[in-house]
C-alpha cells in the first residue's frame, strides 16, 4: 500500500464514525476498527522489506517553491512507531467500545481518535519537516479535543486547555528550530538534513535550533519543567489516557529526539540538556507518583518518569544507550497501556479510582488483578518481565555517565528514581488489589466484559514473552537502533539478555526493588510527612501565568480597541498619512518627467462643479436627502471625467452604478432619520477637519507627482493592446482584458458580488424573522404620504421604457467586445430598467411578475461563466482560454462569435441578479402587511369604473 494511502486512510476514515453512529454503536466501532486494521495491514506488508534494510518512499511535490513536498518514507524507526500507534490503537478502539457509556457520543470520540491516529502516523512517516510540523500541530489539536471529550467536566476542559497551551507553545518553538535546521542545510527534506551532521553542528545557529527543537520535544513528552500538563490531561476518558498519554503522543517528542539523533546528538549542549532534563524528570516524577492517591495520576507521573528515563538514554549519545532507549519505548508502551486500561477497568467497575477507597479487589476482580499485577511488576523492573531488561540497560548506562561534575550524581539519582518506580509499582498492586475485601466501594466491582479485559491481556503477552525470551526482540531492536543512530556512532555489540553477570546495574536494581518494598511498608508515615511539606503546585502557577498574559493582552487590546469606530478610523488615517509623510521625506524624487496637459475650459468647469458639490456636501451633510443628491452630482462628474479622459467603459459603468447606489441609499433613507443630529464639539470638528485636510493634501501631492512622472518600470499594457485583437478577437481592449486576459479575476469578482447580494438577502431574512418585523408593521408614517402611491405617468412611462431599456441593454452587451459596453454595463442597465418597475408599480406588482428568483440568476451567471471557462479544457487548453471565429449567415454581414461572449453572459446575469437581489431585499423591509398585488394593472384606469367590484383578471 502506498505510503500516501497509509497516511490518508485514518483521515478519510475519520469521516465514517460520525456517519456510522446512525447505524448503531457496533457499526460505528466496526468502521473505526476496520479503518485502523486496514492501515495497520498497509504498514505490515512493508515490514519485511523495511526490516531487511530497504526504505520505502513516496514522493510528491506540493509547493516546491517553498520546499514543501509531500514526501514520506518508512524506515525501521518509523515502522516501530507506526506499529505501536496502529497496534495499540486497535486494542484501544476495542477497549473504548465497552468503556464508553451510552451517554457518550461514540461517533465523535472515534472521529477524534482517527484524526489523532492519522496525525501520528503522519509524524512518523513524514520526510519533510514542514509537513511534519503540520502533523505535529494536528496531534496537539486532536489531543485537545480528546482530553476535553467530556465537555461537561470542568477538569476536562481545563486539562485540555493546559495541554494545548503547553504543547502548542512547544510546537511553535519546534517550528522555529526546524526552520533554522532547514535553512542551515538548504532543504526541508528530513533525509537530506540527516546527512548533514557536520554542517549543522558547526553552524552558529546550531544551539538556538537545538534549544527550540528540545522545547518542542520536552513539552510534548512532558519533560521537566514542562511535565505538569500530563497529569491534568488525565481528566480525559481512560482510552485516551492509555493511547495518547502512555503509548503514542507523548512519545512523539521522543520520536523527534530519536529521529534527529544523528545530526543533533554528540555535542555537549545536547548531552547536558537532554540527559539532564531526562534524569531529573525521571527521579522527580517517580517520587511524586508514589504519593498520588488517584490511580491515573499515579500512572501519569510514572509515565513522566519513564519518559524521562528514555530521554536520558537518548541524551547520553552512545549507541548502547540509544539501543536501550528503543527497547524501553517498546516495553513501556506495552506495560503502561495495559496499566492504564487496568486503571480504567477499576474506575469503570468500582466507580472510583481513589486508592484510599480501594483495596481487596483481588478476589472480586481476579482477571483484572492478574493483568494489573503482571504489568506493574514489569514497570517495577522485576526479572522475567520486559521492563526489567530495559531498566537494567538504563542503570548500566547511568553507572557510566558523568553529569553535574560528578561520577556519582547520575547513578545515585538513577537509583533513587528506580527505587521510587519500584515503590509506586508495588503500591499500585498492593493498595488496589491486595488487603481485605471492603464493603464500602461506591459500586459492586466485578470483572468487566471480555471486550474490556482482552485488550490489556493481549499487551501482557509481549511483556512476558520478551521478558523471558529477550533474544526474540533483539534483531528488531537492533535494526531500529541502527535506524536511529545511523553511521554517527558505532553499533553497540551488546545483547538483550537476562543475566549480565554481577554488574553495577544488578546491584542498583536490587537496591531499587528492596528499597521499594521498604518504602511501601513505611508508606503511611511517609505520606503524612510528604503531605505536611508545602510544595510548589504547577496548576496555580500555570493559571497565574495565563491570567497575567490574558490581563496584559486585555489591556493592550482594550486600549487600542475600545469599540469606537471613529477612533480606529482616525488612528488608521493618521498612521497612513504619517507613513506617507515619512516616505516623502526620506525618499528621493527625481523631478517631473512628463509635460502637463493643457487645461481646457470644459475641464475647469467640470472640476468646479465637482469641487463645489463636494464642499457643499460636507457643509450640508446633516440634511441627508440633500447629501444624497450632492453625492449623485459628484458621481456624475466623476463619470463625465472618465469619459473626458478616454475611458468610455468606465463612464458607462460609473453612471449606471451611480443610479443603483442612489436608489439603494434612498431605500435606506426611507427607514433612517432624515437628519443627522449635531453631536460633536467644535474642537472635535476642528481635529477631524485637520486630519481630513492633511489626508486630502497628501493625496493631491501624491497623485500630482505620479501623474507628472513616467512609469518606474515598463508597463505591461502594450502587450494587451497588441494582443487584444489577435488573441482575444476584440477591439475594446478593456472588455477583452475583463473577459479574456484577466478572466479569472473577473470570475472571482462576480462571485464576490453574488456573495455580497446573498449576504444582504440573508441579513434581511434574519431581520424580518426577528422582532424587527413587528416593529416595521407597527411603524407609523412620520411624513405625509403621497395620495397616489403609483403615479400613472410614471407607471406608463416605465412600462413603455422597459422593452426599450432591455433592447439597449442587449445592444450594449452585444457590442461590448468591440465597442464600449459589455456584460457589467449591460447588467446594470437591465437592472435599472427592472428596478424602475418596482418603483413605479409597487413591490407586490413587480414581484408577482418576477418568474425567476434572483438567487438563481446569480447562480446561473456564475455557472455559465465557469462552464465557459471549463469548456477550454475539452480542447486541451487551460481554464478560460477563449476562442473566436467569424461566421456568415447569408442575408447578414459577417459577424464574430467568441467564447468570451458566453463568459460575458455569465457576468451579465450575475450582475443583474446581484443588483436586483440587493435592492429587492431592501424593499422587502418596506413591505407592510396588507399590501397585496393591486387588482388591476394600474391604479387608475379611466376606462374602468372603480366602484365596480368585479375583477376582470387583467394583469393577473
Amino acid at each position: 500500500m502506498s505510503l500516501f494511502l497509509i497516511v490518508a486512510l485514518p483521515f478519510l476514515g475519520a469521516l465514517l464514525p460520525g456517519l456510522m453512529i446512525q447505524a448503531g454503536r457496533q457499526a460505528c466501532f466496526m468502521a473505526t476498527f476496520l479503518v485502523t486494521l486496514l492501515t495497520a495491514v498497509g504498514v505490515a506488508v512493508h515490514a519485511p522489506a523495511v526490516l531487511s534494510g530497504e526504505v520505502i518512499t513516496a514522493q510528491a511535490e506540493w509547493l516546491p517553491g517553498l520546499g514543501m513536498n509531500a514526501n514520506f518514507f518508512l524506515d525501521p524507526l518509523g515502522l516501530m512507531f507506526a506499529g505501536l500507534i496502529l497496534g495499540i490503537g486497535l486494542l484501544i478502539i476495542a477497549y473504548a467500545r465497552k468503556y464508553l457509556s451510552r451517554d457518550d457520543n461514540m461517533g465523535e470520540f472515534f472521529t477524534y481518535l482517527l484524526l489523532f491516529q492519522g496525525a501520528m502516523v503522519g509524524i512518523v512517516l513524514c520526510d519533510n519537516i514542514l509537513m511534519l510540523l503540520i502533523f505535529w500541530e494536528l496531534t496537539s489539536l486532536s489531543s485537545f479535543l480528546l482530553i476535553g471529550f467530556w465537555k461537561h467536566l470542568p477538569a476536562g476542559r481545563q486539562g485540555a486547555r493546559m495541554a494545548l497551551t503547553v504543547t502548542g507553545m512547544g510546537g511553535l518553538a519546534l517550528i522555529g528550530g526546524m526552520l533554522i535546521l532547514g535553512n542551515i542545510v538548504g532543504s526541508y527534506d528530513l533525509t537530506v538534513i540527516l546527512e548533514n551532521r557536520e554542517a549543522i553542528q558547526a553552524d552558529p545557529m546550531y544551539l538556538p535550533a537545538l534549544i527550540l527543537i528540545l522545547l518542542g520535544c520536552f513539552t510534548k513528552s512532558a519533560q521537566f519543567p514542562f511535565h505538569f500538563w500530563l497529569p491534568h490531561a488525565m481528566a480525559a476518558p481512560t482510552p485516551v489516557s492509555a493511547y495518547l498519554h502512555s503509548a503514542t503522543m507523548v512519545k512523539a517528542g521522543l520520536f523527534i529526539l530519536a529521529r534527529m539523533w544523528p545530526v543533533l546528538s554528540g555535542t555537549d549542549a545536547w548531552f547536558w540538556l537532554v540527559s539532564g532534563a531526562g534524569i531529573i524528570t525521571m527521579a522527580l516524577a517517580a517520587i511524586i507518583a508514589l504519593f498520588k492517591d488517584d490511580l491515573k495520576a499515579l500512572l501519569a507521573f510514572s509515565t513522566v518518569s519513564q519518559l524521562g528515563l528514555i530521554t536520558f538514554l537518548l541524551g547520553t549519545g552512545t549507541g548502547y544507550a540509544a539501543m536501550a532507549a528503543v527497547f524501553h519505548i517498546l516495553n513501556h508502551a506495552s506495560f503502561k497501556a495495559a496499566l492504564f486500561m487496568t486503571a480504567g477497568i477499576v474506575d469503570h467497575e468500582a466507580h472510583t479510582r481513589d486508592i484510599p477507597r480501594l483495596g481487596g479487589l483481588r478476589k472480586l476482580m481476579p482477571i483484572t488483578f492478574a493483568i494489573g499485577t503482571l504489568a506493574a511488576l514489569s514497570m517495577a523492573g522485576i526479572p522475567f518481565f520486559n521492563g526489567f531488561l530495559s531498566k537494567e540497560m538504563f542503570l548500566e548506562e547511568a553507572a557510566h555517565t558523568k553529569l553535574f561534575g560528578s561520577y556519582y550524581a547520575v547513578p545515585v539519582i538513577a537509583t533513587v528514581g528506580a527505587l521510587f518506580s519500584a515503590a509506586y509499582s508495588f503500591r499500585f498492586i498492593v493498595h488496589t488489589f491486595l488487603g481485605p475485601v471492603r464493603d464500602d466501594y461506591p459500586a459492586k466491582p466485578h470483572d468487566p466484559p471480555t471486550g474490556m479485559w482482552l485488550p490489556p491481556a493481549i499487551l501482557i503477552v509481549p511483556v512476558l514473552l520478551i521478558g523471558i525470551l529477550p533474544f526474540l526482540a533483539e534483531p528488531f531492536v537492533k535494526t531500529v537502533t541502527y535506524a536511529v543512530i545511523g553511521d554517527a556512532v558505532e553499533m553497540p555489540d551488546a545483547h538483550l539478555k537476562l543475566w549480565h553477570g554481577l554488574t553495577p546495574a544488578l546491584y542498583m536494581s536490587i537496591i531499587a526493588v528492596v528499597g521499594g518494598l521498604i518504602l511501601l511498608a513505611l508508606y503511611s508515615p511517609l505520606a503524612r510527612g510528604w503531605n505536611a511539606v508545602p510544595r510548589p503546585e504547577a496548576k496555580p502557577m500555570f493559571d497565574a501565568v495565563i491570567a497575567a498574559a490574558v490581563a496584559l493582552a486585555g489591556r493592550i487590546t482594550h486600549g487600542l480597541h475600545n469599540g469606537s469606530f471613529t477612533r480606529y478610523a482616525a488612528i488608521m488615517i493618521v498612521t497612513i498619512i504619517a507613513l506617507g509623510a515619512h516616505a516623502w521625506m526620506t525618499g528621493a524624487f527625481a523631478g517631473y518627467t512628463r509635460a502637463a496637459l493643457d487645461m481646457t475650459a470644459n475641464a475647469v468647469a467640470g472640476w468646479g462643479m465637482l469641487v463645489a458639490a463636494t464642499i457643499t456636501l460636507v457643509i450640508v451633510h446633516r440634511n441627508r436627502l440633500a447629501a444624497l443628491i450632492l453625492m449623485g452630482i459628484v458621481g456624475l462628474m466623476v463619470s463625465v471625467g472618465f469619459n473626458f479622459f478616454s475611458a468610455p467603459d468606465l463612464a458607462l459603468t460609473q453612471i449606471s452604478v451611480e443610479v443603483v447606489t442612489i436608489i439603494l441609499l434612498l431605500l435606506a433613507l426611507n427607514f433612517l432619520p432624515n437628519r443627522t443630529p449635531r453631536e460633536t464639539s467644535g474642537l472635535r470638528k476642528t481635529r477631524d477637519a485637520v486630519i481630513a485636510l492633511a489626508g486630502g493634501g497628501a493625496v493631491t501631492a501624491l497623485i500630482y507627482s505620479m501623474l507628472r512622472t513616467d512609469f518606474a518600470a515598463e508597463s505591461i499594457s502594450q502587450y494587451h493592446l497588441d494582443n487584444s485583437y489577435k488573441g482575444g478577437g476584440g477591439d475594446n481592449v478593456v472588455n477583452v482584458i475583463l473577459v479574456d486576459f484577466r478572466g479569472f479575476d473577473t470570475f472571482g469578482e462576480i462571485i464576490v458580488l453574488g456573495i455580497a447580494a446573498l449576504v444582504i438577502y440573508a441579513l434581511t431574512e434574519a431581520l424580518l424573522s426577528s422582532s424587527v418585523r413587528a416593529r416595521l408593521l407597527n411603524r407609523g408614517y412620520e411624513e405625509r404620504r403621497a395620495g397616489d402611491a403609483h403615479p400613472v405617468m410614471m407607471v406608463v412611462l416605465t412600462r413603455v421604457l422597459l422593452p426599450i431599456a432591455l433592447m439597449v441593454g442587449f445592444y450594449i452587451f452585444l457590442r461590448g467586445h468591440n465597442e464600449p459596453g459589455g456584460g457589467f454595463i449591460a447588467g446594470l442597465v437591465v437592472a435599472i430598467a427592472v428596478v424602475m418597475q418596482y418603483m413605479a408599480s409597487g413591490f407586490a406588482w413587480a414581484a408577482k411578475r418576477q418568474r425567476y428568483p434572483y438567487h438563481g440568476i446569480i447562480g446561473a451567471g456564475v455557472l455559465i461563466a465557469g462552464l465557459t471557462g471549463i469548456g477550454a479544457w475539452f480542447f486541451g487548453q487551460p481554464f478560460l482560454t477563449s476562442a473566436f471565429g467569424y461566421f456568415r449567415i447569408p442575408p447578414m454581414n459577417e459577424f464574430e462569435l467568441a467564447t468570451a461572449m458566453g463568459f460575458d453572459l455569465g457576468v451579465f446575469l450575475a450582475v443583474v441578479g446581484a443588483v436586483m437581489l440587493s435592492l429587492e431585499s431592501f424593499s422587502r423591509l418596506g413591505r407592510r402587511s396588507g399590501e397585496d398585488a393591486p387588482e388591476h394593472a394600474m391604479d387608475i384606469d379611466p376606462s374602468r369604473d372603480d366602484d365596480d367590484d368585479k375583477t376582470d383578471g387583467k394583469g393577473h
Partner: protein, 126 residues
C-alpha cells in the same frame, strides 16, 4: 490638467475622511462612497491622463490610453456597489433592531448636545 485631477481627488478624499469620522452611520456611508470615488479615480489615473485616445482599436490609430487600470477600476466600481449595499443593510439592521445608528460601541458623545430626534440607544448596545 493633472492639477485639476489631483486636486479633485484630494477634495473628495478630504471630504470622505471628514464624513467617515462622524458618529452616525449615514454620513459614514456617504464618506466611504466619496473615498471610493477618490480611490477609483486614483487607480484610473495611475495609467496617466490621456484625452481622445480611448482603448478601442481602430485602423490607422497608433496611440491609445492605458487600458489596464480601466479594466481594474471597472470591476472595482461594481464591487464597491456590493460593498456599499452590505454596509447599508448592516447599518439599517442596527437601526431597525436597536434604534441605534451610532458607529460607536461606547458612549462618547457629549450628553449636553442631545437633540430632539436622537433615539434611545439599545440597552445592550455597549
Amino acid at each position: 490638467m493633472e492639477l485639476l485631477v489631483a486636486s479633485a481627488v484630494g477634495v473628495m478624499t478630504a471630504a470622505g475622511i471628514y464624513l467617515v469620522l462622524r458618529l452616525r452611520t449615514f454620513p459614514v456611508i456617504i464618506g466611504v462612497s466619496l473615498l471610493t470615488y477618490a480611490v477609483n479615480v486614483f487607480l484610473f489615473a495611475s495609467g496617466r491622463l490621456a484625452m481622445d485616445m480611448p482603448p478601442i482599436l481602430r485602423d490607422g490609430v497608433e496611440n491609445y490610453t492605458d487600458p489596464l487600470p480601466q479594466a481594474l477600476v471597472l470591476t472595482a466600481i461594481v464591487i464597491s456597489f456590493g460593498m456599499t449595499a452590505v454596509v447599508v443593510i448592516i447599518a439599517l439592521g442596527s437601526w431597525l433592531a436597536c434604534d441605534d445608528d451610532f458607529v460607536e460601541a461606547v458612549e462618547q458623545h457629549d450628553p449636553r448636545t442631545k437633540s430632539a430626534d436622537r433615539a434611545p440607544r439599545g440597552q445592550d448596545a455597549a
